[in-house]
Symmetry: C3
Subunit: 255 residues, 3 copies
């Protein structure tokens, strides 16, 4: 028997938003520790990992580990029926072939339950090594979203140049070429400050299409962390309150 309760159904909506356009279906691995997910997009260019720790839930019961294989298309349709302030309970019996999502309005005058068929999905596990980073950038997530959206208008790829002085996002296309440079800010409110931890200057290019998609996770967190390395995929991490994180790994473009 698995049963987990979140005080805000909107959290699951926000998590699904940046994932659903990259991945059709995925295993939500439920264990006493929490819920985790690992999934690659269909073109095998980006890897998504999610962790929701059990202690971050309002209540959490998981006798033994189980994998909930879900169509993200179906899950998305169901979540559209949840009010943002609804409580969400996820329920699955052992050996069951369905999972139930229950939404309760805060005033308890409306209760909705949706049942979805579970899918049998291969459970690929990816070994993710702790990369030896060249630069770690922490910046407002809305700022990264805006930069990706703006530069997408002008070209398909972005070159990220990071050093102590700042992070430069460069694009080149038919309309011209451009750079947006973000500088460290020490004076603003700590939460939204841009900080750069740089071991060595680094220059890498990425497909804007994927970066833009990742930034749909912006509502999850006011800040985003970019871990940039010459030898490993870039890691874009959105912290999820006190409960966990959503991470995107993207391999750089080769010249």
């Amino acid at each position: 028997m698995f049963e987990a309760r979140l005080l805000k159904a909107s959290l699951l909506k926000k998590i699904l938003e940046p994932i659903k356009d990259l991945v059709d279906s995925a295993n939500f691995d439920c264990s006493p520790v929490g819920i985790s997910l690992q999934a690659m997009d269909s073109t095998h260019v980006t890897l998504i990992t999610l962790l929701l720790r059990s202690d971050g839930f309002d209540s959490y019961n998981c006798d033994r580990s189980l994998s909930l294989g879900l169509s993200l298309v179906s899950l998305n349709k169901i979540l559209k029926c949840a009010g943002n302030d609804d409580f969400l309970t996820i329920k699955a019996r052992d050996e069951a072939d369905t999972v139930t999502f229950v939404f309760e309005s805060p005033k308890s005058d409306r209760i909705s339950d949706f049942e979805v068929k579970l899918l049998e999905l291969k459970n690929d596990q990816y070994n993710i090594r702790d990369s030896d980073y060249s630069a770690v950038v922490k910046m407002p997530s809305a700022e990264l979203q805006r930069i990706c959206r703006d530069l997408s208008i002008m070209g398909e790829n972005v070159t990220i140049t990071a050093n102590k002085e700042g992070v430069k996002f460069s694009v080149s296309g038919d309309s011209g070429s451009g750079n947006i440079t973000v500088r460290p800010t020490t004076d603003t409110e700590a939460d939204l400050a841009t900080t750069i931890e740089s071991k060595e200057p680094v220059v890498l290019s990425f497909a804007l299409k994927f970066l833009s998609n990742f930034t749909k996770a912006t509502p999850l967190s006011p800040t985003v962390k970019l871990t940039i390395s010459e030898t490993d995929p870039i890691v874009i991490e959105y912290k999820i309150d006190d409960i966990g994180y959503l991470r995107f790994f993207l391999a750089p473009k080769m010249d």
Copy 2:
């Protein structure tokens, strides 16, 4: 000579909104008592009735009854030219083949008049008997709109189960199946309370497409009344302030 004046042109806009996608043209029957309309959608599945009592108008002059056959497509275009706070006057001379709509801005600095050709339409009258209901549900209109919108994502038909304990809206589709249950609320403000008057439990299915269309009438009234019967079409009624009502009749789906 017919001349009727409303203090808010927006009222006619709101009335037209849920009708115009179901019916192309209709007779507005004007008499000393008021304006009434009866129309079936082109597939003859749903019947719409409208009543605007003469005493609800700011001024109302109707010497003798006349039928204004109007293209709702044209009327809708004309109403788009009215400000929501404009005064609206509808004018038709006896035996005339046009009707004039006059919009005046509250500050009187803009006055618009639009003339539309009248259509010769068959004047079908439908006998609507007072049905012996199984359940009468009064609920917030925004809540019904939301339920129809949400469930439409998951399937084409909704099954409504009503009894003393609550009203359950159920849907089933490729993504899974779900239920939204609304319970009576006695404690909230009387105006927006959900109340259920149940003579006998009832279970009926309806096409969500039509129900969703009806709920475009939501801006007309904060509440909506559903009269459900095993032997008659469901009646969805929106009260229009102190002036009348807009009602939709929909036959249930057979198994």
Copy 3:
């Protein structure tokens, strides 16, 4: 060397909005006096003129006159990367084949620079004579925008009838015919008053498509001035703060 700085990048966005759908590319003529532009739409029905006086800029340096031939499509893409509150600097070296747009966020934590290739464009100069007007109408720009939008729903052409009593905008189409009449207002705040200076009554017809496009300039100014003449194109003028103006010239429709 040319370098001009505006405190609001949004100003250039607002100027481009009504121009970009009419003209693909245009010369921005820069001289010590300021920046000016003259362009005809591809169908040669409407002429656009723009003036931005040098003293309206935050800083302005122009040693000798030069013409910056720009693709408005490219310029529009670049301007989408500017925040509305960003400072904007336009830079071009003498004999250069590119121009650079620099956007700085007010907090200086983000700086963007975009380089666009210059185009070699023919430099047509149009002689615009001061027309002997029949009527000059000053009215709220939002009101003109609304009238054009509303009437576009009903027909393709508008007939403007102006005399001392008011300005009547008339349209006729399949749905019916209509008139919107705007009257002079002496009592409201002077800034948004509608005033009519009429030498002689005038009746002229225009393509609504063009008028509607011009009214995309509404965010530039709370009021708009229409100079109407029997013998010359109508002139629709939007003042741009203390820095200049944007004018549209449109020939009337012949019967």
